[in-house]
């Protein structure tokens, strides 16, 4: 219950600055529209019905969903954690009878609730995943949940570099660029030559490209299993990284300002 309050607070924070939120959504919508019109022109002038197995209508859908996912998979916890370390307020958080990582999860969830609702509605109403049998539906939901956890853990692992770095703002454009290029936000990674097919199993692609294809019904049960396997592998790798760096980080943490 104590974590639920964190979730509510995070949601309220998102909704508190409604003007900023609306303008942010508007600019995201403009960027999506630009990419959509460009891809429609590519379909039109190439004379192709499908590109990398994706029809023009599905491409429009792909670009909208992948951009909603980019909003869900935010890198905000990195900057929050950096603020705590730099100000020394991490000491206060550590003294509280809470688990910082669990709190971080609920905060991450609360902040993204408006976007998660959109993603959930699209999944429930338009996506074919619940029309392909119980096993497919359950596997899809499991993959979504595991990917969500994996991405948050990865962001948490990256945030731990705040123990050693004074400024972490440079990570913001880097992570945006990585999601744009490796996450399939600019274009589906499937349009790249076969030599780059391994790229679809990077964590950004698992969160962006693969979850979007899942929603489009483009992943078979086998592909869901492989994608899930890679997601679990990344989760384990990131958990090990967190375990190693957290203890070292805490030892180097000076608690300045506390």
């Amino acid at each position: 219950m104590k974590y639920w309050v964190t979730c509510q607070n995070a949601l309220l924070t998102t909704l508190a600055y409604r003007g900023n939120l609306l303008l942010h959504l508007l600019t995201t919508a403009i960027n999506v529209l630009v990419t959509i019109f460009m891809w429609l022109a590519v379909y039109n002038f190439s004379g192709r019905v499908t590109i990398a197995g994706i029809q023009s209508r599905q491409m429009v859908f792909y670009l909208i969903v992948v951009n909603v996912l980019a909003l869900i998979f935010s890198a905000e916890p990195i900057f929050k954690f950096s603020g705590l370390v730099r100000s020394g307020n991490l000491s206060v958080v550590l003294m509280r009878p809470i688990n910082y990582f669990v709190q971080s999860f609920w905060e991450y969830l609360g902040r993204a609730i408006p976007y998660l609702i959109v993603y959930g509605l699209v999944t429930g109403i338009i996506s074919p995943i619940f029309h392909r049998g119980l096993l497919y539906g359950v596997s899809s939901l499991l993959l979504m949940a595991v990917t969500y956890g994996m991405f948050l853990l990865m962001i948490t692992a990256i945030s731990l570099c705040s123990f050693w770095l004074i400024q972490v703002w440079p990570l913001r454009p880097v992570l945006s660029a990585l999601f744009l290029l490796l996450g399939g936000q600019a274009f589906p990674l499937q349009v790249l030559p076969a030599a780059f097919s391994w790229l679809i199993y990077n964590p950004f692609s698992l969160a962006g490209n693969q979850l979007t294809l899942l929603l489009l019904g483009k992943l078979s049960l086998d592909q869901i299993a492989i994608t899930g396997g890679w997601t679990m592998l990344w989760t384990v790798a990131v958990l090990v990284l967190i375990k190693l760096t957290w203890h070292r980080g805490i030892r180097s943490y000076e608690g300045v300002g506390s």
């Binding site: 900023n20 960027n31 022109a41 004379g47 454009p173 880097v174 660029a177 290029l181 349009v191």
Partner: protein, 255 residues
């Protein structure tokens, strides 16, 4: 006035040298997003040789010109604009208002952003190479340069209008990002958009014209739209100046 600007540039350079790592990182990120644009363009044109009559080289010319305009604006004005919002909100304009200089231009030119100079030079070199491939006539090249200068003034005027809104609106930080997003969305051939959007952003808020017009001169397709964007930019500059004067009437000092 030039002497004052020289002092402000010297101060900016001193600040840049203090934050060397930040300078290098900012330059790197500028290049990073330009490279993503190039890769994305490469992906588009791997499926078709032309889109609405634009081949890959024309497209490169367009996005490089759009980046050139953005980086030139960033180099000349972005640091000053970031500072101006803070100065207005914290009520610290008094010192510049008391000086025997034009406060509008003093704040517009208060700082230059040297990290952007690196990306500006890099983009200029790439654009020069593209133009040597496109062979514009000397007259078209001259109009290309004029259109780029008008483009920089247009982006400046849009940002100045948004930043000066801080006299009335507090906390709506996303407003300041609108011109940048608008220019990013405009770095595409105008014809990919539906006719209504084309007309809106070619004639009413001519951000599409700002990027497309110089690119058209670059590949020898002169257009009268240059006259229109010059006129609109002039009007926006006047509007931003009027807004500044009105804003000063709303200004509350915190000193």
């Amino acid at each position: 006035m030039f002497k004052i600007y020289r002092v402000l540039i010297t101060q900016s350079l001193a600040e840049t040298m203090t934050y060397r790592v930040t300078t290098i990182l900012t330059a790197l990120f500028g290049v990073l997003f330009y490279v993503i644009d190039l890769i994305t363009g490469g992906v588009y044109f791997s499926f078709t040789p032309t889109i609405y009559g634009w081949n890959f080289l024309d497209y490169l010319n367009l996005i490089t010109t759009a980046n050139l305009i953005s980086y030139a604006y960033q180099f000349l004005f972005v640091a000053a604009h970031e500072d101006l919002t803070d100065q207005i909100l914290s009520g610290n304009l008094d010192y510049s208002l008391l000086r025997p200089v034009n406060a509008y231009w003093f704040h517009a030119c208060y700082r230059v952003d040297f990290p952007s100079l690196v990306t500006l030079i890099l983009t200029s070199i790439i654009e020069a190479v593209i133009l040597t491939r496109l062979h514009p006539t000397p007259l078209n090249l001259l109009f290309y340069l004029m259109a780029v200068i008008v483009g920089i003034a247009f982006v400046f005027a849009l940002n100045q209008i948004m930043v000066t809104l801080a006299f009335w609106v507090d906390g709506l930080t996303a407003l300041n990002g609108i011109p940048e997003d608008l220019m990013t969305a405009s770095a595409r051939p105008a014809k990919i958009y539906p006719r209504v959007i084309q007309q809106l952003f070619l004639w009413v808020i001519p951000s599409l014209a700002i990027t497309n017009v110089p690119a058209q001169f670059g590949h020898n397709h002169p257009t009268w739209l240059l006259l229109w964007i010059t006129l609109v930019t002039g009007l926006l500059l006047i509007l931003s100046y009027i807004e500044w004067q009105r804003g000063l009437l709303k200004y509350v000092s915190a000193n």
